[in-house]
């Protein structure tokens, strides 16, 4: 009786953690999509700030940081703080630094990060037209990443959830087999 209880607990632990792992994987797909969407939204805001009011970047980034939730907004807020505090760094460098610091918090993959980094090119270094063009370029590339993320989510989200649960079950069976326990003994 005692032994059965331990085994049962172990099995449940395996199942729950495997399912959670699958859930996490599935959720990261959704979060990546959300973060990419936040980023697109931020680019739109930046475009507006630059083209209509020519707001200086530190201020524009601060506004974006306040309007966009989560780690993406935080990247902009942090870059804004860096620009204000430093007198050794331009906007591009501040952006790259802030992006790097925020890598752990976002669900961007390497490709997404590369695109986001491109915003730093000529940031604050050209006239309005040049800035808007650069933002549009980044935004267009982001659109591809977004589409890819959307498809990955639709395709794989459910898969990861199933994979978690089924993987857990498979592990349990594997252990039962190895210990020579008739796995009906569990039930």
């Amino acid at each position: 009786m005692d032994e059965t209880f331990v085994r049962l607990t172990g099995a449940i632990c395996i199942l729950v953690s495997a399912a959670l792992w699958g859930e996490m994987k599935a959720r990261s797909l959704g979060l990546r999509l959300a973060h990419l969407q936040h980023f697109q939204q931020a680019l739109r805001l930046l475009s507006t700030e630059i083209s209509y009011t020519a707001t200086p970047l530190p201020r524009a980034f601060e506004v974006i940081g306040r309007r966009i939730n989560g780690p993406v907004g935080e990247i902009f807020s942090r870059a804004s703080r860096v620009m204000r505090d430093s007198n050794e760094m331009g906007a591009g460098e501040a952006w790259r630094q802030s992006l790097k610091q925020g890598t752990g918090e976002t669900y961007f993959n390497q490709e997404d990060l590369k695109i986001a980094e491109q915003l730093g090119i000529s940031l604050g270094l050209s006239d309005r037209e040049g800035q808007i063009k650069q933002i549009q370029l980044v935004s267009r590339q982001m659109e591809y990443a977004l589409e890819e993320a959307r498809q990955a989510k639709n395709k794989n989200e459910r898969m990861w959830r199933y994979l978690g649960v089924l993987g857990g079950l498979a592990l349990i069976i594997f252990f039962c087999k190895r210990e020579g326990i008739p796995w009906k003994a569990l039930t």
Binding site: P56, L57, P58, A60, M83, E88, A91, L123, D127
Partner: protein, 332 residues
């Protein structure tokens, strides 16, 4: 007072320079800074300091050298400096990029040069900036003291309309600024009250406005219209600010002259400046000649560099054709 210039450069100009250039300039001694008027950054060429009648190219350790060993300004130095000047947002300075300079806190001016982008035949914006020129603003209080007695006579309630002329970099703007301050504050010891002064500062040189607020002391009764074309600006101030004196820099265009006539007709004293080395040169300029023929200006102040920038060479009453001041030794 001389130390304050070094202090100002330290506080106001250094934070705007790329760290590489800044560390070189920090090596320069105080005596050199006293005379420095310009810091020049040209892409791929030596870092240079300029003053009237001299210059110094600097090595990476801040020593004066020939062009060969001098520190060459890197493209990164330029772009970082641009970012620091523009608060990381060059696009917010399109008007300034079109005019080719911008004013920074402290009233210093940064001249820009690069590739001009045209629209309908006129410059729309500058791109690929490859030269920067920091002109360090001078604020010499008291320099107008020598001139004031010629502008105000006890028989008259108001100062005479005056034209200040000098070759470039001989202290026109500095004198004009101090005149504005004196006339606006008033001088009880010379027995005259302060006047309401309207200052049309088309190129942000006199008051050195940064984001609309004067960085230089232009007196308590001065209204500054920053960045407006002179002709239009004078009319605007006349309508809106009821000035007793209108001051503006570097007149010469047709619309400046007609606005000045309007001012005189409205009973406003005009104090202006123009580029010229001698009074005779002015007579070749039709607009200014016309103003003289109409007896607009009753005083003409000539500055030169014979004993350093800001030397008073001549004060003349062009209406009565009399010299009011002439150095005994004969300036030149």
């Amino acid at each position: 007072m001389p130390d304050s210039k070094v202090h100002r450069v330290n506080k106001q100009v250094f934070p705007l320079l790329a760290p590489g250039v800044r560390s070189i300039l920090q090596e320069i001694d105080v005596n050199t800074w006293q005379k420095v008027e310009e810091i020049r950054l040209r892409e791929g060429r030596p870092l240079t300091l300029c003053w009237s009648g001299g210059e110094a190219m600097l090595t990476s350790r801040g020593q004066v050298s020939g062009a060969g060993e001098a520190y060459r300004v890197k493209p990164d130095d330029l772009s970082l400096t641009l970012q620091l000047i523009s608060n990381c947002s060059l696009y917010a300075f399109e008007e300034e990029l079109r005019r080719g300079y911008l004013t920074v806190p402290g009233g210093h001016r940064v001249g820009l040069s690069g590739k001009a982008v045209l629209e309908k035949g006129s410059i729309k914006v500058l791109r690929n900036i490859n030269s920067l020129n920091f002109r360090i603003a001078r604020e010499i209080r008291g320099i107008a003291n020598y001139v004031i007695p010629y502008l105000i006579t006890s028989s008259r309630q108001k100062p005479w309309s005056t034209l200040v002329i000098s070759p470039p970099q001989a202290g026109k703007t500095t004198l004009l600024r101090d005149l504005v301050r004196c006339l606006s504050d008033g001088m009880p010891e010379k027995k005259f009250r302060g006047f309401k002064v309207g200052l049309v500062d088309e190129r942000s040189e006199i008051a050195g406005c940064f984001e609309g607020s004067p960085q230089m002391d232009v007196g308590v009764r001065t209204d500054v219209l920053d960045g407006a074309p002179k002709g239009e600006g004078m009319m605007l101030l006349l309508r809106s600010m009821s000035p007793e004196i209108i001051v503006t820099d570097e007149i010469g265009r047709e619309e400046d002259a007609s606005s000045i006539e309007e001012m005189i007709n409205a009973g406003v004293t005009v104090i202006a400046s123009a580029h010229a080395s001698t009074p005779e040169e002015l007579y070749y300029r039709p607009t200014i000649k016309r103003l003289f023929n109409q007896h607009v200006f009753h005083r003409m102040v000539v500055l030169g560099r014979s004993r350093g920038p800001g030397t008073l060479e001549l004060v003349q009453d062009p209406v009565r054709e009399r010299n009011l001041y002439q150095p005994k030794t004969g300036g030149r």
